[in-house]
Every structure is written in C-alpha cells, then in structure tokens.
C-alpha cells in the first residue's frame, strides 16, 4: 500500500491485550473528531480490534499507527507485526479459517467492516494490515 493519507496521530505499541484497547480507543476518537456516525465508528473500531488482536496473539506483538485526514475525511490504521506471516491470505480471509482454534471470522470480518483493507505479509517476516475508514 502507498503512504497512508493524512497525518500520523499516534503510534500504539501492541504487546498485550490492553494495548489493543488503547489503539482502538484512539482510532474511535479520531473518527469522532471527523464526525463519524455511531455505526461507522463501531464497524471500524471492531475491525481494528480484530487486526490488533491478531498482531498480539499470532504476530508476537507489533504496533498500530493511526493516521487522520480532514479532506477528504478518512482514518487509516496500519497494524504491523513481525510474526510468522500468513501463508495463504485468500484462505485466511475466508470465514471459518483458523490456525489457532478460534472461530476464524476475524480477518474476513475485519475486511467487511472497513472501507478498504490491504494485507501485506511475508512468511517468516511478518504481516502489515492497512485499514481505512472513509466518511
């Protein structure tokens, strides 16, 4: 993905589940500042939660960078980890796919909840997921 639109608002370290809470709070606040409606905010923050949790649980931790732009209004969250990567992204996006005994709805669900989502991943190197909410 190209450079995220807007200005960098916050860099959140993602090491523990509490860190995911913080990242999603920041993303929600930025959407609120841009006047996002409740459903928009809930959808995007849920996506950030899914992806942020993946980074903590499967990626061994990482960071979330949150960008905000006023014209045209959008919030972008770039979530990066240095974990094992995803061998088959298309399969991972399908509901029901899980390597961790969970439900396997997270990644595909997150994509449906964003206006735009891109996944860059290299096996053995890590994963970077870019999520965009446009208002």
């Amino acid at each position: 993905m190209s450079v995220p639109e807007g200005a960098l608002v916050s860099v959140c370290v993602l090491l523990r589940d509490r860190d995911v809470l913080h990242a999603r709070r920041v993303a929600g606040q930025e959407l609120e500042k841009l006047g996002a409606r409740s459903v928009k905010k809930t959808r995007f923050v849920t996506a950030v939660s899914e992806i942020g949790r993946n980074a903590v649980m499967h990626g061994g931790g990482g960071e979330a960078r949150i960008y905000s732009q006023v014209h045209p209004p959008c919030v972008t969250v770039v979530c990066r980890d240095k974990g094992p990567g995803i061998a088959d992204v298309d399969a991972a996006l399908c509901d029901g796919f899980s390597t961790a005994g969970s439900m396997g709805r997270g990644l595909g669900g997150a994509r449906r909840l964003c206006d735009q989502m891109e996944i860059e991943t290299t096996v053995g190197k890590g994963t970077c997921v870019t999520m965009v909410a446009r208002l």
Binding site: V39, K41, T42, R43, E50, D95, M103, G106, L113
Partner: protein, 120 residues
C-alpha cells in the same frame, strides 16, 4: 476477579454489568467466575448487561456465546441485555450470533421475562 465487571446475585439471578474497558484476560476470568457462581448460588439465570461495550468483536462474541453454553449446561438461562444497535449490526456482519442466549433490550425486560417463570 477483576474490577472490570461486578457480579450481583438478586432473586436467584446473577447480574453482571460488563465494563467498557474489559480486556480479553478480564472476560476470560469473568467466564470462569460466573460458572462457579451459577453452581454456588444455584442461580437460575445470568443477565449480562453489555450496554457499556462500544464494540463486540469475534473474541468477545465467542466468549459470550461460550458463557451462554456453559450456563445452559449448568441449568441457567443467559440473557444478554443492553446491546447497542451498532454492535448488533456489526455482529451480524461478522456472521456471529449468540445461539444459546436470550436477548432483551434492557435489564427490566429480562427480569420481567424471568418473573414469568416460577422459581425453581
């Protein structure tokens, strides 16, 4: 038990208000604590108020669903109350439902439903 949620026992019903900033660890602790309380208090129902939750993602959704299944095995009906409209819409989009839970708009709706049933 963490301070992220408190459990109250009223009229044979365990009431839980889940706090906004509940973490994954807290909700796993809550699941365990509730299962123990159902048996210890001989509770006939569990009412979980999730109105404070701005989002319910697949992890929290799965724990809520499991909690309802565990309660059912322990002969207690689970009610999930206070779900925000945006949360309901997002859960549907995630392809999740809470099959073993009854949902009620509010705590009083849930209690009204329960009062319709004779005490065990």
């Amino acid at each position: 038990m963490s301070a992220a949620s408190a459990i109250y026992f009223v009229e044979g019903v365990l009431l839980v208000a889940i706090q906004e900033d509940i973490s994954d660890t807290d909700i796993l602790d809550l699941q365990e604590a509730l299962a123990e309380r159902i048996v210890r208090d001989s509770a006939r129902a569990v009412v979980m108020d999730i109105n404070a939750l701005e989002i319910v993602d697949t992890f929290v959704g799965r724990i809520l669903a499991q909690l309802a299944s565990v309660s059912k095995l322990l002969d207690a009906q689970t009610y999930v109350v206070g779900m925000r409209p945006a949360v309901a819409m997002t859960l549907v989009e995630l392809g999740m439902d809470l099959p073993e839970s009854k949902t009620a708009l509010s705590l009083s709706h849930a209690l009204q439903d329960l009062r319709g049933k004779p005490l065990a």
